[in-house]
């Protein structure tokens, strides 16, 4: 079955939801890619997102894998364009208008008002993801250790993700 139009539609829609960060779109991404279109299962989605943290560049690049699985190389390309195209165009337009909006008093209101909503959306996405990723004491411990390390020290996050892989390998290894 040809999934290309659905991939284009879903990822263009998701791109508009990424206010504040890619994770803001995660709850809808889970519903659309897992529950509606069955392109992958929830654990695969979480694994892909997490492995994506080890790749350089923008942090939602795991969408390319979803596109490839559902529609091959063309699917990957379509997803990439659908997910980054609309917001790139919007950034171009707003970026140019921004200085003109300087004297518009509502600009600050919009920024201040959107900040808590976008953080709420990021948190909602994080909790959706954590529900699948933190399944017991060992995974909870790894998540907490990473959280505390990040809050206390400046560490490259990619190193902590590698640490998670090692800890996971040791913790879940059959004795």
């Amino acid at each position: 079955m040809n999934q290309i139009p659905a991939l284009a539609r879903v990822f263009a829609y998701l791109s508009i939801l990424t206010v504040g960060g890619g994770m803001a779109a995660f709850p809808e991404m889970k519903i659309l890619t897992v529950d509606v279109h069955h392109w992958l299962d929830f654990h695969e989605l979480i694994h892909l997102y997490s492995v994506g943290q080890l790749a350089p560049g923008p942090n939602m690049m795991m969408i390319v894998s979803i596109g490839d699985w559902a529609g091959g190389l063309l699917g990957a390309a379509v997803v990439l364009i659908a997910f980054f195209g609309p917001t790139a165009l919007l950034a171009l337009i707003i970026g140019r208008a921004w200085n003109k909006l300087d004297k518009w008093p509502w600009r600050t209101s919009i920024q201040q008002g959107l900040a808590p909503v976008s953080i709420g959306l990021l948190l909602a996405g994080t909790l959706t993801m954590a529900k699948g990723a933190v399944t017991g004491w060992s995974t909870g411990g790894i998540a907490l250790a990473v959280l505390l390390t990040m809050l206390w020290r400046k560490v490259n996050p990619a190193l902590l993700v590698i640490g998670g892989a090692i800890a996971g390998g040791i913790a879940f290894m059959p004795k």
Binding site: G21, S50, V51, P58, V64, S138, I142
Partner: protein, 203 residues
């Protein structure tokens, strides 16, 4: 703006203007491709290092301003920054070169990683490691949310909007766009432009 600065010594804005005049679409693509290929653990610090410290394509003030625009728009910070910076350097061609450059390496890597996962993802040890990776990513995300919250919330009451948003999406399963529009409008109205704030800003 920066045009007003006239100084015999080479000021930061003159340095930036000179560096910008030399930027070509190809050099923009190359710089962003390098950033896209090396920015392990988050793009923004690498953007800053390359564009500000190494190439002098932006000054500190403009970088922070562009970052704040990026954060209030839909789209990832990394790609929004690429578009905004590329546009300031060489118009839409610069923006296109920057965004393609910053995305390309990660996209190729994840394409290959996805293929590898399909082949080897059910291998026992890989599964255990992926569990650890996912748990680490969850902790990482939560730390990002906390740090972003500390930085960008303008008052304690904003936590109420954060909480309502989370409850709507995660508990009541309201869709993200509806939540965004509904809570967004209320929060923007809550932060309506006050006269006092305006006078403060003009002083």
């Amino acid at each position: 703006m920066s045009d007003a600065v006239v100084n015999p010594a080479l000021t930061e804005s003159q340095l930036v203007a000179a560096a910008r005049a030399k930027a070509t679409t190809a050099s923009i693509f190359r710089e962003f491709l390098i950033i896209g290929a090396t920015s392990f653990g988050g793009v923004v610090p690498y953007l800053r290092n390359s564009l500000l410290t190494k190439n002098h394509w932006v000054d500190d003030k403009e970088f922070v301003e562009l970052l704040s625009i990026s954060q209030s728009l839909p789209g990832l910070n990394a790609t929004n920054m690429a578009v905004l910076l590329g546009d300031r350097l060489r118009g839409w061609m610069g923006a296109a070169a920057a965004v393609v450059g910053v995305c390309l390496p990660g996209a190729v890597i994840m394409l290959l990683a996805g293929i590898a996962y399909r082949i080897r993802g059910d291998h026992a040890l890989v599964t255990y490691m992926l569990k650890g990776v996912a748990a680490a990513a969850a902790g990482l995300l939560l730390s990002t949310v906390i740090q972003l919250g500390k930085k960008s919330l303008s008052q304690h009451f904003d936590l109420v909007f954060v909480l309502i948003t989370v409850l709507l999406v995660n508990r009541l399963h309201v869709s993200v766009p509806r939540t965004l529009i509904a809570v967004g409008i209320v929060a923007i109205l809550f932060h309506y432009p006050r006269k006092a704030a305006k006078e403060d800003a003009s002083q």
